[in-house]
Symmetry: C2
Subunit: 365 residues, 2 copies
């Protein structure tokens, strides 16, 4: 079975650790000692409670989450968060949400926020074609800001923040969907961090929200129950039936990060090494590959570049597929090539892609 | 592995067909010919598009869904539907949502609807302790009703409609979460049918919405994107990343219903037979088991009853567990015993429970 697997560079849902898939496979007909598959397991049962508690504990260990932050497991992806954030955190109408836009997902978040009230754009990378990050002095916050929203890694553009923007006390809200768990984070600098799981943390269908306790109070009582963070917080993410199997896989992935990888410092080292292999080829190819992101803004997770022509790009993808290097096509909105090299992408997959890039550029230059 | 499995009477997430679990297990490291697990598969990939199209086609065949109805795969469970329904279908403020309450889930639906505006309760089974269904002449619709909402099967009370309430042209909206696919349905009598999957259709994390096309137009443009049925409809349920693995399991379950069971007529026959086995014991036990539902309102899916004392109930559950009959405790809000015997519960499981009930009542009468 293993020999059939390809290297999956999909931007999400994305590659998972083989050992996680093997454990899930082994126990798919019944968790040992329980006799019920996690797919069939009541969310109120003791075995599932152990799973969701373990998933939270793993996240707390990996990210060193302070005790005044709550961890929630929700549905609806980042898209639903784009609405829930202003509905919960800026409901009083007195304070203005601020948005830093470094790519497509930040713009999607903004698009939902404006439906809920006035919004201020503190920085917009549009004039740079979203290939870079803001300089600190160019970010312009509004008076009385409700929060500052930013996207730590723009999956489509391949642009990633190296550190948090300074907000001078305004709660910082981060869409970390595509770089969550790729490195340690100073959680105490955030008001809220959220991430859909299907890049680094698990399969599609569960979204992790890490929120500072005091911000929970901002949600008005008349919000739809599912959209109020307090509903979920007050019920340990069981206000409704949570996506049990997705949380189970997230538990296995976070355990893999702790036990097999050795924590997020090690994960970061590996991610630096993997991404450097590809950026090195881009830098060495005398312009054959045109990297989208500025050097200082390059993503550890999504390496984006273009080839000299559509014809060459087509040939590049076809020859990659022959090497079992798959899902390398860029997002339909921007084109080009995107190699998503999340935590679970093996070093060998990246090595093989780097080799392909080198050979292809030599042959076609 | 199979020998370790117990009979899982959980109300949801609930038992799945063993053949479905076996197929999912076999392909968990990579779908044949694809080399990528469904857990890792891009929702935009051809193999996943084949899965979601197959899931919809299976549902259309099983329920004979007319072509002017759309099938959507959403997240957030029925709880999010409780809000989305009034937000989409009664947004003009001119028409009043009507609710028929036959148990706990109908009341939960109402609780969210009232946050969105005026609501009319057309019938409430409260004075009967939610053990029965309304007589047609007792249902009192308001003038200018936006829709009529009812819960076809009340999981907690074990009360199920045998046929649709007559609404004289008012769009009928049905929470079919816990009896979806247990029998054929005249879809053309409905405006909308919705069901979270984790009873009869799959694992937790996906909710099926079947909605008549003309009702999609009712959703206002300024709704949060995720909460507008049109967002999902216009993008074939891919406005955001859908819960891919849950949809895959739903595809396998619906294929099992078509190929192994032979369709919903056959499924209904089996469900009648299974539930009758348990109700027969209740009727034969001279009052030892106190069934909650009126005879005419008894559910095919959730058989609810009480024992003469808490002590006897405890012993009943302990001895059931020794026979590998698990998850029989009633919902924490009402207590008692609840045997959920969804489609995938094997006849042998129900036979074994009926035998246990008979022996236990004889021994303890």
């Amino acid at each position: 079975m293993m020999t059939d697997r390809v290297f999956n560079f999909s931007a999400g849902p994305a590659v998972l650790p083989v050992s996680v898939l093997e454990q899930a496979q082994r126990d798919l007909l019944g968790l040992p000692g329980v006799g019920i598959s996690v797919l069939e397991m009541s969310h109120r049962s003791a075995p599932f409670e152990a799973i969701i508690e373990s998933a939270e504990a793993n996240l707390r260990r990996l990210l060193n989450i302070p005790s005044n932050y709550r961890v929630l497991f929700l549905q609806g992806g980042s898209r639903l968060q784009f609405s829930m954030i202003p509905m919960n955190l800026a409901a009083d109408g007195q304070r203005t949400p601020n948005y830093i836009l470094t790519g497509s997902w930040g713009k999607n978040a903004l698009q939902e926020a404006v439906k809920q009230g006035d919004v201020h754009v503190a920085w917009d990378g549009k004039s740079h074609n979203y290939n870079c990050l803001p300089d600190a002095e160019d970010i312009d916050y509004s008076d009385n800001a409700a929060y500052v929203h930013f996207t730590s890694n723009e999956t489509i553009q391949g642009v990633q923040f190296n550190s948090e923007p300074e907000t001078n006390g305004i709660p910082l809200v981060c869409d970390a969907s595509s770089d969550f768990l790729c490195r340690p984070l100073p959680v105490e600098r955030y008001g809220m961090i959220y991430a859909c799981a299907q890049k680094n943390a698990g399969p599609a269908g569960v979204t992790v929200v890490i929120i500072r306790e005091d911000l929970l109070a901002r949600g008005p009582d008349n919000l739809p129950g599912y959209l109020n963070y307090r509903s979920h917080n007050d019920n340990q993410s069981m206000w409704n039936t949570p996506p049990t199997f997705a949380i189970y896989i997230l538990d296995l992935v976070t355990r893999w990060l702790l036990d097999d990888i050795g924590g997020l410092d090690h994960m970061l080292e590996i991610n630096r090494r993997k991404s450097q292999m590809l950026y090195q080829v881009i830098d060495d190819c005398e312009g054959f590959y045109d990297g989208h992101a500025d050097r200082e803004s390059r993503s550890l997770m999504n390496v984006t570049f273009r080839l000299p022509s559509d014809e060459l790009q087509k040939a590049f993808l076809e020859q990659a597929a022959e090497r079992k290097l798959c899902e390398l096509k860029g997002h339909r909105s921007v084109g080009g090539i995107r190699a998503s090299i999340y935590n679970a992408m093996p070093v060998e997959g990246v090595e093989s892609l780097a080799e392909h890039m080198r050979q292809f550029s030599t042959a076609n230059r």
